[in-house]
Structures are given as C-alpha cells and as structure tokens.
Symmetry: C2
Subunit: 427 residues, 2 copies
C-alpha cells in the first residue's frame, strides 16, 4: 500500500506516476490465440472438440456441446430460493434502468429543405462470454444479457468453459431468457462466435469478461464482429471524510481488492487519523476473508491512501479515471458533480459500490485502466446501431449539389462530382 500526502513536495509527479503504472500482465498470448482462431475458422467443430480435449481435458461431441434445456432447468432449480429471488430482483432493476436508455429516432427537415434523420435498430445476434470455475458469476449473465434483451436482440448465445455449471449461473440465464448455452471457452469460444463452428452460428457482437486469451481473441476478431471494451483489473476510489465508519470504508476498498491481485483500491481522505483507522480495519478484515490472499496482494501492491483536501478530490479522481468512485460524504454531489472521468459514481455513506455490482440497475461492466477518459459502461447502446437517412427533393438538391461538385472536384473524385453534376444538368 502506498501513502501519498497532498502537502508533500513532489506529490503531483509521484501520484501521476502511480496512476500510470501498468497493472496488466504483459500479453505473451497473442501468437497462441492467432493459431486457435485460424484453426477454428478453418476446421470448425473439429477444432473446438480438439481444443476441449487439449485445454479442458474433456471429451465433447456435437450433441453435448450445447447445454440442454433440461440441464438449464434442473441446474436453475438447484439454486437456493433466496438467490433466485435476488436474481429476479436484479434482473428487473437492470431491465428498468436500461429501458430508459433507449434513444429516439430522429426525422427533421432542415432550412435547405433536406429531410434528415436517423433510425436505431437492434443487433440480431449477440454472444456472451461467461468465465468458468470460481469466476462464473450470475451477475455477469444478467449485466450482459438483460440489456441485450431490452434492446430487442433476437438471439443471445452464451459460451462458458466445459465443467460444472453453477446453479446460480443457470438460474440467471433462465431469468434473462438465455436458452442457447455452449460448453466452449477460451479463444476458441470467441472464434466460434465470430466465425461460426459446427452447430454454433456466428453472432454480430461478443461481450463479456474473460482471461488474457479471451481478451486477445476479442481484439483480433474486432471488425468481423463487434466487441465490448477490453476489460482490465477492477478499480475503486473512495473519497471519504472522517465522519465515516472506518470498517465500512475498509470493506468497500476490499470489495475491489478481492477480485484480483491486480485490482486497485484507493482511499482519498482529508483525515489522517481516519486513514490510519481504515488501514487497521483493512488488516483486520483481511484476516477473516476467504478471498484474503488475492485481496492482500492487491492492497499491498496497488492500494493507496491519499491525504488531501477533499476539494482536490475531483481533480485526483479525473487523473485516475477510475471504474468506480464512492463519495462517502454528506452532500456528496458538491464534489461528485465536478468529476469528469469515471465509470460509475456512488453517492453518500450508504451506497457501497457492491450494490452497483448486483442490484442498483446500472451496469457493472465499466471502463477500467483509465478507459473512462474515452468510453462508457455497457448499456443499451451496445446492442443497437444507427442508420443515417437523407432525402433531397429537386429544390433542396439544387442547394446542396453545387457544393458537392466543388468539394468532389477539389478532392479529385470525378465520379462523385459527376453523380451530383449530372442531376444538376451539368454533365
């Protein structure tokens, strides 16, 4: 854990350098991924079954590659009622929040008489990658599938590595209306979704988190299909005054740290004694945490406590451009409204970031690694696209046509010029 104090000489430079530190593992996986993609593209199902043997140590065939409707039903039924209820609660809230994001189509006639506008339409088919093992989260299914459904996407194909399917994951799939689930993971799953393979038909876009292989594969198929942002390790900044309970704030810091040894948690406070109390509470809570090993490594290597006037917090937050930021203060808007670069903002003393991971309704897929400078969390917009519409009549074309000719001629594009000039009777 690093300590910074705003009053230290050299604070600005030291803090900026800390923010710039890379936390991702450098990728040595790209060549392997290239070969996997090429094999699936060329051989389809055969390659998928071979990689399942080779990487996952399972024998699959065309008939058990897909999780059957009975398996989904039976698995979901094993999920405890309380968790099923929480899943339904979360799904309804996510649906309601994302439904409000639907943009209107536009149609207007401008002063030149040109009819202009645009129209939004949903994607047809979306693939969702759901990691396997311990990281198989029902919330991943909900946060990716529910907005796609709300957008009107007809087909959602979920892929997840072979192995025991978590009851909660299947309950989430059932709740979200996901009926197409394939036992395939890694770069080969991304390839199957992008190019099609055996019974898996290609999709238009691939979303969902994955390891370095999955991320490298998504980068490579981008263009053939759409992808969501490339997710890095999770981050939280907590801006808190001394009136908070140190154990509450410690829990919030650890809720990111427990995700990954590369995750990052930063406390910004103006109260040194409070900071010390939070640090102590972190150590105390770490001792009893089943995820304590990862959380301790994250806090040790990437955690930070910054002592600074709270008025400076918005600027420091913008430097970090974090995935999540909490303002655990009275009147939190006073500072939060000055933040420009953050994936999601949590306001007040009783809004821990974890509610955003599950049930707030907002999406938990958010930009990491300073990507909040240029990108947004997953939303309805990821599952719709826009078509521009232009219509001239002879009168408005007479206004636009000559300028088109002038510009096309200036660019040395005579066929462009002619297609306008010929309608002006000039060619």
């Amino acid at each position: 854990m690093r300590r910074f104090s705003f009053s230290d000489p050299g604070f600005e430079a030291a803090f900026a350098a800390f923010v710039d530190e890379r936390r991702d593992t450098p990728e040595e996986v790209d060549a392997a991924v290239r070969d996997v993609l090429a094999a699936v593209r060329a051989e389809g199902l055969d390659a998928l079954l071979r990689f399942a043997r080779q990487f996952d140590r399972v024998e699959l065939n065309e008939s058990n590659l897909r999780v059957s409707a009975e398996e989904i039903e039976a698995g979901a039924a094993q999920c405890p009622a309380q968790v099923r209820e929480a899943i339904a609660f979360a799904a309804a809230r996510i649906a309601a929040y994302h439904a409000r994001q639907r943009p209107a189509d536009a149609a207007f006639t401008d002063e030149a008489g040109v009819e202009l506008g645009w129209r939004w339409t949903p994607l047809e088919a979306v693939g969702i990658y759901v990691p396997g093992g311990r990281a198989a989260y029902p919330s991943t299914v909900l946060m990716n599938a529910v907005p796609a459904k709300v957008a009107g996407v007809e087909r959602i194909a979920m892929v997840t590595p072979p192995g025991k399917l978590q009851p909660a994951v299947l309950a989430a799939a059932k709740e979200a209306g996901v009926t197409e689930i394939w036992r395939v993971g890694g770069a080969q799953a991304v390839a199957a979704l992008a190019y099609g393979a055996g019974p898996i038909r290609p999709v238009d876009k691939i979303v969902g988190p994955g390891n370095a292989y999955v991320t490298a594969a998504k980068r490579r198929v981008y263009g053939t299909v759409g992808i969501d942002a490339l997710a890095g390790p999770s981050e939280i900044v907590v801006v808190a005054d001394g009136a908070n309970r140190p154990d509450w704030i410690a829990a919030d810091l650890l809720s990111q740290a427990e995700h990954d040894p590369a995750a990052q948690s930063i406390l910004i406070t103006d109260d040194e004694a409070f900071a010390a109390a939070v640090e102590a509470a972190v150590q105390e809570q770490l001792a009893t945490l089943s995820t304590g090993q990862d959380a301790a490594a994250s806090w040790r290597d990437h955690g930070a406590v910054v002592i600074a006037p709270l008025d400076e917090a918005p600027r420091l937050v913008d430097l970090i451009a974090p995935e999540h930021v909490e303002f655990a203060l009275d009147q939190p808007e006073r500072l939060a409204d000055r933040v420009r670069h953050a994936g999601a903002i949590f306001l007040g003393r009783v809004t821990p970031e974890a509610i955003g991971d599950y049930v707030a309704g907002s999406n938990h897929v958010l930009p990491t690694s300073r990507a909040a400078r240029f990108s947004s969390g997953l939303s309805l917009y990821d599952f719709i696209k826009r078509t521009s519409i232009v219509k001239c009549d002879p009168k408005s074309f007479a206004v636009l046509g000559p300028h088109t000719v002038a510009l096309a001629d200036a660019e040395g594009l005579p066929a462009h010029s002619r297609s306008a000039a010929i309608r002006l009777g000039q060619s």
Copy 2:
C-alpha cells in the same frame, strides 16, 4: 462484374457467397507495426524523426514537426474561394446535424427510492489521422473534427504524413478550428497520439481513416486509447427501378468504385433492360474518368448487378449490410423502412450518395464490410462518454442491501457481501 438473377436456381447461396467474399488485403503488416509502436513508446521524438527519414524520406526536427499557424493560414488562403465556401457550408451543416445527437443526462428516483441516472461528458483530447497525398481530403477533416468540436472536445490533434499539405485540407482545418497539426503519418503517428512523443501529448481517442499500417496500429493501441471503427473499402448498393436515368445510376455506382480497386458497387433492379443500359453507361463513363483505372478494377472484380423483385431488395440489402444504400424510386420509404442493416440510406432519385460524403450534414464515416450489423457511423457519441450515478438513503439501502448480500455470497465474494452487510448492521 457479376450478374445475379433472383429467379436463377441457387441464387440465394451464390449471392450469400458473393457477399461473404473478403475484399481486404490480408494484413502482413502487424509485426512491422508492433515494432514501430514499441520504438515510439520507448524513444519518443527520436523514433518519429528516424521513421520520417526512413519511410517518408524527409528530415524533420522538433521545430518543424508541427505545422505553424502561419502555414495553416497561408495554405488555407491558397484554397479557391468556391471550395472555401463549400467547406464552410459543409461544416455548418455537419455541426447542425451532430448537435441534434446530443443525448440528455438522466436523473430519476425509482420505486425503491434509489436515486439513479447518468451524465454525459466530452472527451478531453482527440487525435485525427488524415492520410497524405491524393487521399488527403478536406471532408475527412470536417467529418472527424466538427463532431468532436460540437461534443465539446477541448483539444484536437491532427496528424498527416509529411509532404505538401493540400490547401483545401488546411482550409478545412481552419474552418473546423483545428490548430494543432503534426507532420507525422503511418503507425508512428498512431503511436505518438496514443503514448505521446516529444512535443505531441497523448490523446484519449484516435479517429480517421488510414492504410493497412494505420489500421493495424489503431487495433493495437485500442484500450490505451479509444479508436473509431476499423474502416474497410467503401461500398454502395443502389436499388433502382427502370424509371431512372441509367447515366445517373451509373455515376452513383462509379462514385464508390473510384475510391479503391477493392470498393464494391451493387445495383439491384427489377428491370433487365435498365440494368443493361446502366452497364453500358458505366463503361462509357469509365472511359472519361481520371480515376478510371481504380474504378474499372473495382467494377470488374467486385461490382454486381442483381435482377430481383424490388420487394426482395430490403432483405438482400440486409445480407450485404452495406455502408451506403440508395433507393432511387418514387416513395422510397416503402422499401427503405424495411432495411435493418445499413450505414446510411439515401432516398429518392435526386439524392446521390455523394451528397452524404460532403454536405448532407450526416457523417460520411460509416461501417463497412458488413459492420453495419453491429455498429454505426461516426457521431457525437464517439466524442462523449457516460458516467453512471447511484445514490441510496438508509431506507432504499435496506431494500437493496439484502439482495446484494445474497448474490455476493452466491458468487463467493465475501468482501462484497460485507460492504453491504456491515451497513445493514449484520457484520
């Protein structure tokens, strides 16, 4: 040029295969690009100057790397008045169209009493790549810079390969308010914008068209910065009945073909005699076109004429998911409204696609290579991003908290669970 007839046996399969044909050159450039990016990242300005010598055969230094305000002014003044006027006309229309895309922020309290919403903010710094030589287009500057300005982006850094700067390009930069222009092209320009190099400070997002090296570099820096879509060769589909003038439609087809031997132009018509007349007009116009060599290659290798009932056109257009589609018909909306996948739609007999390239106001940066299935043209949305906002009070937290605990426990994330439970007095 390929001919298809809807009534031919095997039409569906043959047409689908045609649509799937790759038109991009396979990229053998990725390794070279990787090395260029690494060199600029490690050595900064020195690497830029070395690559300028090596690739562009020019000697640059820190003082002439940037195009001076005087050069912009003097160059713009050389641009003919008629072209400057057309540039101003286009810029105003692009600004007006994109200003209508600005989405509203949201703030609402839901039935659980949770305050929710989101806020849109502009990116701070955007880089625009403008190709050099013959492909240095003023319209590229306008279509990328004007929406960024409208969005509220404070800094726009334009990069373009060393060499004579076209007066029209400088006039467009001046009109769009672009004052920061650097003489650097290729993958090294992308690296300089992404990582910073010497006097070039890093940006948050890179947009603008480029060759295979530029495209490969953009793919590699994606994540460090945002990028626009990866542009492929241009495309047009013209849906036309026999009441059109064949020479008008021929000009429209050639206006895409002249961009690139890999461009694609497709005519869909229900009138065989009309199709033959268009083909003849294409040949006639090719003979007089200064861009005829590229246009002829494009038409020969990738052009197509499809004879089909016009009612089938929307479905065929969706298979192609083209960058541009014209409906040169009376009552064009009847068919156009059924299209789902297209970058831009041009309606009626006097709306040639070329007006969309310059002055319609809509953006000419549009998805190619079937990317209209999952993505949209460049817009205001490319230059803004969204921050989610969540605020609970004790009462609404009492509703959301227990479900958060249930889901966090199901996912095996005890710190997440504790951050909610502790505020419920349960931990």
